[in-house]
């Protein structure tokens, strides 16, 4: 999931200092898992804003905040509450925040969270970055462990000389991912993969767009009676 962290409340208050009323929009997916956009957090934010003298016109936790069309449908019953609000605060990742911008062109939209990284929740409430969304997966070459993401230098041809005791030169809390890749490839009897020369990665050009024509619904023509 996309890991998010609550922004500093005073910074958010600074953002909305000229607004009297707020509509709160959360998200039931990644943000709820991270404790930054589910029902309890939305309620807590409502209470916090109200104790600062703001009016919360209403709140809603979208099913998938990043899904613009779905969220548009879900928010139809809240039209009046949103119209009445001076701004919308979105408690999700940056994509969810920008859904509100797509839907309400003239309404100020503020993010409640900082979006951090794409992670596995490896233990309860422990989130470890696992995927950089690099666009060209090389997990087939590294036993399924990602050096693009988990090597601080994103090295593809094996480790640098900086590791100590199997730990990364950047932090003693971080294992050298190449050490992990090595152990994994030994276990899988695929060490020969390490001997292949990897070419430099093509960095993505932002912003990216993908269109899946093949997935768009083919509508049945409406029969004329």
């Amino acid at each position: 999931m996309i890991v998010t962290k609550k922004r500093e409340f005073n910074e958010l208050m600074e953002n909305i200092k000229n607004y009297k009323s707020v509509f709160l929009l959360g998200c039931s997916e990644c943000a709820a898992l991270c404790g930054t956009g589910g029902e309890p957090e939305v309620k807590a934010m409502k209470d916090a804003l109200e104790s600062e003298g703001k009016e919360v016109t209403d709140t809603f936790v979208a099913k998938s905040g990043c899904q613009v069309l779905g969220t548009k449908v879900e928010l139809k019953p809240f039209k009046d509450a949103i119209d009445k609000a001076d701004c919308i605060i979105v408690m999700s990742c940056g994509a969810g925040t920008q859904t509100a911008v797509e839907l309400y062109e003239d309404k100020p939209v503020l993010p409640a969270n900082d979006s951090l990284f794409l992670a596995n929740m490896t233990r309860l409430k422990v989130f470890d970055e696992r995927c950089s969304l690099c666009g060209k997966c090389i997990l087939d070459k590294t036993g399924g462990i990602c050096p693009v993401t988990r090597c601080a230098k994103g090295l593809l041809n094996g480790p640098c000389g900086g590791s100590k005791g199997g730990l990364c030169e950047v932090s003693k809390d971080t294992p050298c991912v190449w050490q992990e890749i090595y152990s994994r490839l030994i276990r899988l009897n695929q060490l020969n993969l390490l001997k292949e020369m990897s070419r430099p990665k093509t960095k993505p050009v932002h912003p990216r767009r993908l269109i899946r024509e093949d997935l768009k619904l083919k509508k049945e023509p409406i029969k004329k009676i």
């Binding site: 230098k153 900086g162 590791s163 100590k164 430099p200």
Partner: protein
């Protein structure tokens, strides 16, 4: 490098600033005793005067420089361009390195580039040498660099050690014609390493870092990537009444030990360039 002579190289690290007097003096002091001098590229990710400029100044003094070029700060455009620029300024030897991570230095928030890795950089040098940039465009005038790379025989886990050897092979395939190592303190480990790479047929210069004090040794153990000074040596530095003498002794001892194991020595004096002659003399070189 092609001769059977035991090669001696040294290293200077440019300062933060434009004052080059001291490093030039140090270089002059050792120029007769060494075959070439490396100039580091923003060593330890600390912002400093650049390697290319200092290499060029060394050429003016008839000293053969080894241009250290890391992948930390420059993308593939800048790396290729800087190589061409280096050639035009008279530089012929290049050491291709990954580079320390910016978080280790004094601008920790700088973007870590690493667009290429050291293997990729060696391939790029090979490409330029053949008259093409890395995407296949023909160059108007090709350089003919002598490229080297780094290996760390002191890698301190089984996996790290094996991967250094695998990567060394890749670097040779990518065009590396010589290797310099990080500071060696464990001769048994180094011998084991040299036995493993028997047959690679590429000269290796063993790295020696002059220890200035026990404190420096401990600092390196904690902060410098890839260096490990064992406790007995730290004790020697702690207990001595003459740090310089012991430092020279240790360095000479290590050099004597690796003389028969590899093709040369690379001395990193880190400010004690004036002691290099003494070290070499005591090591019998």
């Amino acid at each position: 490098m092609n001769s059977k002579k035991f090669v001696v190289t040294a290293e200077i690290g440019p300062n933060k600033g434009i004052d080059v007097q001291e490093i030039m003096e140090n270089a002059e002091l050792i120029k007769e005793r060494v075959d070439a001098i490396n100039v580091t590229d923003l060593q330890s990710s600390v912002m400093r005067l650049g390697s290319m400029a200092v290499c060029h100044l060394l050429i003016d003094r008839a000293i053969d420089p080894i241009f250290q070029l890391t992948c930390r700060d420059r993308n593939r455009l800048a790396l290729q361009s800087d190589l061409l620029s280096a050639w035009v300024l008279g530089i012929r030897n290049v050491l291709a390195l990954t580079g320390d991570h910016p978080t280790l230095g004094d601008h920790p928030e700088a973007m870590p580039v690493f667009d290429l890795d050291s293997v990729g950089l060696l391939r790029v040098i090979g490409s330029l040498n053949e008259g093409f940039d890395m995407v296949g465009n023909q160059l108007k005038g090709a350089p003919d660099f002598f490229p080297g790379a780094v290996v760390n025989p002191g890698a301190d886990t089984e996996a790290a050690f094996e991967m250094q050897i695998i990567k060394m092979e890749k670097k040779i395939e990518a065009g590396a014609k010589f290797f310099q190592t990080q500071g060696i303190y464990d001769l048994d480990l180094f011998e084991r390493f040299m036995k493993r790479i028997d047959g690679f047929k590429t000269p290796v210069l063993g790295g020696i870092i002059l220890l200035k004090s026990a404190g420096m040794a401990r600092f390196m153990n904690k902060n410098v990537a890839g260096v490990f000074v064992p406790e007995p040596l730290i004790k020697e530095m702690e207990e001595t009444k003459d740090k310089v003498k012991t430092s020279i002794e240790i360095a000479a001892r290590l050099i004597k030990g690796l003389k028969d194991l590899c093709d040369g020595v690379h001395i990193m004096a880190i400010g004690w360039e004036k002691k290099i002659s003494l070290v070499l003399a005591e090591a019998g070189l």
